[in-house]
């Protein structure tokens, strides 16, 4: 599978991970790859079981955990954003419907915008909330109590 994905996306970077096959995908190629992974029968990754974001200080990362319910194989894809502020990644919520809520959550808590998302609003916090709490540089002197 490693070779197949590398051949599909030339810019992909393989990452060592004990548990899952992991790739770092350039953000502009992600949507095409997702389309292929979902639709091509040899992959048929139809189940996105986890979608999350990580703040890596220099950049933000979106992590896609995929599983195929037919072939029972799993794959982890990561997309790195170029910078921290005003970044955006293409949405996959038309490919895997579950991504719709998860992308809203990532936007809410990490501030990564998803292009072409039908309803890009905050999901947990108020609409006028300042900042994105899961970022490492988020400060909130009132609500976060340091023990």
């Amino acid at each position: 599978m490693k070779e197949k994905i590398l051949s599909l996306v030339p810019g992909a970077e393989f990452q060592e991970n004990k548990q899952y096959v992991t790739f770092i995908i350039p953000s502009d190629k992600m949507r095409d790859l997702a389309m292929k992974l979902k639709n091509e029968t040899e992959f048929s990754f139809d189940y996105l079981f986890c979608l999350t974001g990580v703040d890596m200080l220099k950049y933000l990362e979106v992590v896609y955990h995929l599983e195929s319910t037919i072939h029972k194989h799993e794959l982890v894809l990561k997309v790195r954003t170029a910078e921290r502020e005003n970044t955006s990644v293409d949405t996959v919520c038309d490919i895997w419907k579950t991504a719709e809520f998860h992308e809203r959550e990532i936007y809410d808590l990490l501030g990564i915008k998803f292009n072409h998302h039908p309803d890009m609003r905050r999901i947990f916090l108020d609409d006028d909330w300042k900042g994105h709490p899961l970022r490492k540089d988020y400060v909130d002197e009132v609500n976060i109590v340091e023990l």
Partner: protein, 375 residues
């Protein structure tokens, strides 16, 4: 004089109006707000608004050590607290490559299943209440009490246990544990017949749930609807079967699969799962091996740098923990993949063109626990 505003009068039959269901509403089971567009009584559109009980648990985890995180996972899906604890414990054990004693595996599996039964009992009674049958509520709670007593005797708490620790259990179970569990199974096998008599076979329930809230298998997979709700659509998503942990690879049990995908199928999956869970417990309870209740762990648990993911089957679906560790004693980023969050996303799709009463039935059958959605 009042200003007269002339709005174009729409066809009154087609006019939609909005209702806020929640944050305080008897059938949202917590502080969930659903903005429903109605046409008469028909639900045309539905927008869930979450976050009323968002506590930022993922952010809190970034400050806590791994043993401390356990007690936060209790507070996600509070009805399957053991199973959530199990996920974090398994993740830490996997990362540190610790082998837990057999006894711990047995006990954890039994407790998980007891927790699943308790959760399904509570689901059954609240579902009955959503449908208007208030008596179900008391029967369910009455039987759940027996499980909670077993829990209380062994580790002192009834709902939020924090009983699993990385490497084992906090303390050994009470000497009465085995006997009480066996008594409970005997008792509940009798009482579950009442459940079938009063609700399952009831013509009103069947009429109200069959063919309501259809979710096809493809949609279930796409929406990530897991657990009993997913299995009712034919999505074989039982983590216990497909990615076994604990003792699940060694016991015999069926993955309950229905293919109708309607509310009644979701109901039936849970009813069968209670029996299936009892079967698992019966297989394990007699030969719990003697031994230590915990593996040897370092005093301060530090995960090696890297990424870890652990999936378990919670009572409402697949619960996942994703940890990015930088080698410190607390995680760099911790993400809980909560089953209810994904299940909720399908609610809009499956309740459209139904009636308000259908929405309540569908909501009851999806069995959402709001703190798990909001985290």
């Amino acid at each position: 004089m009042k200003e007269v505003i002339n709005l174009p009068v729409k066809n009154i039959e087609e006019e939609e109006y909005h209702i806020n269901m929640g944050p305080q509403h008897p059938s949202t089971h917590g502080v969930l707000r659903l903005v429903i567009s109605l046409q008469g009584e028909i639900v045309k559109n539905l927008k869930p608004h979450c976050g009323y009980i968002h506590r930022g648990i993922e952010k809190m985890c970034e400050k806590d050590t791994y043993p401390q995180i356990i007690h936060l996972t209790d507070r996600l899906d509070y009805l399957s607290a053991h199973i959530n604890n199990h996920a974090v414990c398994l993740l830490v054990e996997k990362a540190l490559e610790v082998e837990v004693p057999e006894r711990v595996k047995y006990l954890r599996t039994i407790l998980d299943e007891l927790n699943r039964i308790a959760s399904h009992q509570l689901w059954w009674c609240s579902f009955g209440m959503d449908m208007g049958g208030l008596t179900c509520f008391f029967y369910g709670l009455r039987d759940r009490e027996h499980i909670l007593d077993i829990f209380e005797e062994s580790f002192g708490s009834r709902l939020l246990h924090s009983y699993y620790t990385p490497g084992g259990l906090l303390q050994d179970v009470h000497p009465n544990f085995q006997k009480r569990v066996k008594d409970f199974i005997k008792y509940f096998r009798k009482k579950i017949k009442d459940y079938d008599d009063i609700l399952t076979g009831n013509i009103i329930l069947q009429e109200r749930t069959k063919g309501i809230g259809l979710l096809t298998k493809e949609e279930a997979i796409s929406y990530g609807v897991t657990g009993p709700s997913g299995r009712a659509s034919g999505f074989a998503c039982d983590v216990r079967k497909h990615h076994p942990y604990g003792m699940y690879s060694k016991v015999e049990f069926n993955e309950i699969l229905f293919h109708e995908g309607d509310t009644f199928a979701r109901y039936m999956v849970r009813m069968h799962e209670m029996r299936e869970s009892m079967k698992i417990i019966e297989q394990l309870i007699d030969d719990i091996p003697a031994g230590n209740h915990t593996a040897k762990m370092k005093a301060i648990i530090k995960l090696p740098a890297g990424e870890y993911y652990q999936r378990v089957e919670a009572a409402r679906g697949e619960f996942g923990v994703y940890v990015v560790s930088d080698g410190n004693k607390s995680p760099y980023r911790m993400k809980f993949r909560s089953p209810n969050f994904s299940n909720l996303s399908a609610l809009d799709h499956i309740s459209r063109e139904g009636k308000i009463a259908d929405l309540v039935a569908i909501g009851g059958s999806l069995d959402y626990v709001i703190p798990d959605i909001d985290r």
